[in-house]
Subunit: 453 residues, 2 copies
């Protein structure tokens, strides 16, 4: 059954943390602290043993909180969850994030307990994300219990992350924040006893902040619903998905993680294809595709120009392009003539264009701009080994400027220590994705093309 | 023909930089600067237009330098290379690194010029690495012309890198230095007009500082010789190789890079197999395998224990293990009993052992140590999401201690922003390789097992 995800999950006016704690490191403390630091609306604590925590009044039950509560976050032990959830229903709380674990993922007994929770909300207006999840990071709502000194929070951007696994999802967020890449929403949805991945996909379809939806999936709850919601979404927005538990050993691991029925790998791959979902095979590929879709326009075709100052990386990129069906046409007359005029004779002006080990920023400007301009190319990958003595760091500003001027994808491959990392972060903070190896850059371009097609 | 690589390449007593320059950023300046900063022996400059550079006397030709010259580094333009090489032969210089490009990689005409160079050294005692290379980084010899402020230098360690491509090889070095991982020798050998990859493999076989040899290869010069030298080496030391130019487009790219005949991919894969060389498919895999071989012992078998605090990463690791034929046996009675006693009921004590989102350092200590101790396992991968509030950073010290105590491979998977990165670097500086994704960690373990088998 299709279900609308209440807007109170993402823009509540009042919240309650049930199981709020004064002990640093406890989930009920870290979640409350996040709200105290970022949330401008009303914050109530539910803890029968305290009067106030972090300056917020405590109540024995959510029923005692005066006024409406839009969003309740449950961080108590599993034993008391049925009671506090009953209280939420009685209080008519529209949105509940149930972080507590110890349900469906524990096997038969836990699954019974999860069924009991479903009965409690049945017929009510209370909708639940979880249990066994980290919840939401979106604007002022941040129920991710990893403390800010251990995990950074990204700024605003076009990438939404849906993750059945909390810890796994939160590391990608931490890494994106480090790189200066923004997100629209992060939702760790756990055992999906009520709201499932398909409901969330539908909600993100309508979300104007979200440019691309990424999805870490262990098992889909309702195959038909997933197919229908995903299909409707990919007409306008890309979905990139990784299915964990594709092997038989992996399926067993899924059972003791989120209690999902992992199902046969082929069925999932078939469904993804039918729904226009881009399936990736590794965690890294998910990340790499996400930053390409989140920042760059789609290419019109598969004709790629590769510019490099390291010939070897050019060769590896070429191998990967051929493997993935990406064309590398030689420069047509017009840019070719300009290259001959402006470059020393030892520069290889085929494709890859090898600017060689004494490349300077100007060679990059000419080659990238002429390829972005040319009708012969749908996108450019610039392999930039910043370590070369002749290469001025202003090459980064040139790329940022060219990326704004031309509406074609520009991806960069670079790697190295602090000097290079500073330049790489500057590119990423300005919306140019950077990949540490040529193979990964080409694979990301191929993902963009795959969705376009 | 087998050729001994003169020891003067690695431990010269006197050196000359031919084409030494006072202009910052020029190759002849950067190479000279490296020697001035690190080399304790005699340094001469060859530059007919200067009296001294960086405090070192200049000579119009190497013939005018008094006393023996063990190692000459040529950084001049291609046009004068024949003359300066003739001078090196006349001076009886045993070791020459020819950095200059503009030879075989430029096609027919360049190949003729390279043949002419070969004639010059023919019958002499002068041996050449290059042309079109970056040369050597080994102890006080550092001809890598990327300036130190742009590229870091790694400390001492067991990994040797042989790279046909200079720029490509130097980025891996830069990245290793950033991570605190040491190398024994880095050799960028370019067009291999004289000393080829097989000669260098033979030299590294005998090198007691080198624990593992990694190889970026575009084309082998003499197939028989490669097979024979590689085979003799892999009896005692692993060789990990990546062959670039495996596709037809990639082969063309190789031609304009190092001028090598790339040859059919299948022939290379067959030869690697026959010689006991571990072939990897991507640049990343080369790096990942290198740090595993460079730091960890070989596993006795393929039975792996996975410990995690993020269930999703455990699932992805499991999928990858099954794909690569790595076994994940459930804990036998003995550790299983201890796990039941010491861990809360919601900890999943199968394999992966999911310590869950409130894991602490003690759970890691118990699970890693019991698996390393147990006869049921040949190695452990610890997936450690440091971001969790309950996880004390001392978990890193525990891992370092356990890695020293037990002679089984221990690999870590972790990722994140500055907080996590600091802990990851500490692990790597103490000889524990860290991988950003579960798939990469499992693949690295599989490489170790592959060589052992």
């Amino acid at each position: 059954m299709a279900m609308t995800v209440p807007k109170e999950f993402f823009s509540p006016k009042s919240v309650a943390v049930i199981g709020a704690s004064r002990t640093k490191g406890k989930v009920g403390h870290e979640v409350l602290k996040n709200f105290v630091q970022k949330f401008k609306g009303k914050i109530a604590c539910v803890n029968p043993k305290a009067k106030s925590i972090l300056g917020k009044a405590c109540y024995p039950s959510i029923r005692n909180v005066s006024g409406k509560v839009d969003l309740a976050v449950i961080t108590t032990s599993a034993a008391v969850v049925p009671q506090v959830l009953r209280d939420c229903v009685a209080k008519k709380v529209p949105a509940v994030i149930l972080i507590t674990s110890g349900f469906g993922e524990l096997g038969d007994e836990g699954q019974h307990r999860e069924q009991d929770l479903k009965k409690i909300i049945s017929g009510s207006k209370t909708r639940v994300i979880g249990p066994n999840c980290m919840g939401i990071m979106s604007g002022a709502v941040d129920t991710i219990f990893n403390p800010a000194e251990k995990q950074k929070r990204p700024g605003k951007g076009g990438i939404a992350f849906l993750s059945q696994s909390g810890a796994v999802g939160s590391t990608i967020i931490d890494w994106l924040a480090e790189e200066g890449i923004g997100i629209s929403k992060f939702i760790s949805y756990g055992n999906q006893m009520d709201i499932d991945e398909s409901d969330l996909i539908d909600a993100l379809k309508k979300d104007k902040d979200t440019k691309v939806i990424t999805l870490y999936l262990e098992g889909v709850k309702d195959g038909k619903k997933f197919l229908s919601n995903a299909k409707a979404t990919t007409k306008s927005k890309p979905i990139i998905a990784i299915k964990a538990g594709k092997t038989s050993a992996g399926q067993k691991a899924v059972m003791s993680h989120t209690g999902a029925l992992a199902g046969a790998a082929e069925i999932y791959s078939g469904a993804f294809k039918q729904a226009g979902v881009i399936e990736v095979q590794t965690w890294e590929e998910l990340f790499d595709a996400a930053i390409a879709f989140g920042t760059q326009p789609l290419p019109k075709g598969n004709r790629l120009a590769i510019v490099t100052d390291g010939g070897g990386f050019g060769v590896l990129a070429t191998d990967q392009a051929e493997k993935l069906g990406i064309e590398l046409p030689a420069p047509p007359e017009n840019p070719a003539r300009i290259f001959k005029q402006r470059f020393p004779e030892y520069v290889s002006t085929k494709n890859p264009i090898d600017l060689t080990g004494d490349a300077d920023a100007e060679r990059y400007r000419i080659s990238i701009e002429e390829c972005l301009k040319s009708n012969a190319y749908d996108g450019v990958i610039a392999i930039t080994l910043f370590q070369l003595p002749s290469l001025d760091p202003k090459v980064v500003d040139i790329m940022i400027q060219l990326n704004k001027k031309y509406k074609k994808p520009l991806l960069v491959c670079a790697t190295g220590s602090s000097y290079s990392q500073k330049l790489m972060k500057k590119l990423e903070a300005n919306g140019i994705p950077v990949y540490p190896t040529p193979e990964r850059a080409v694979t990301a371009f191929a993902s963009l093309y795959k969705f376009k097609r």
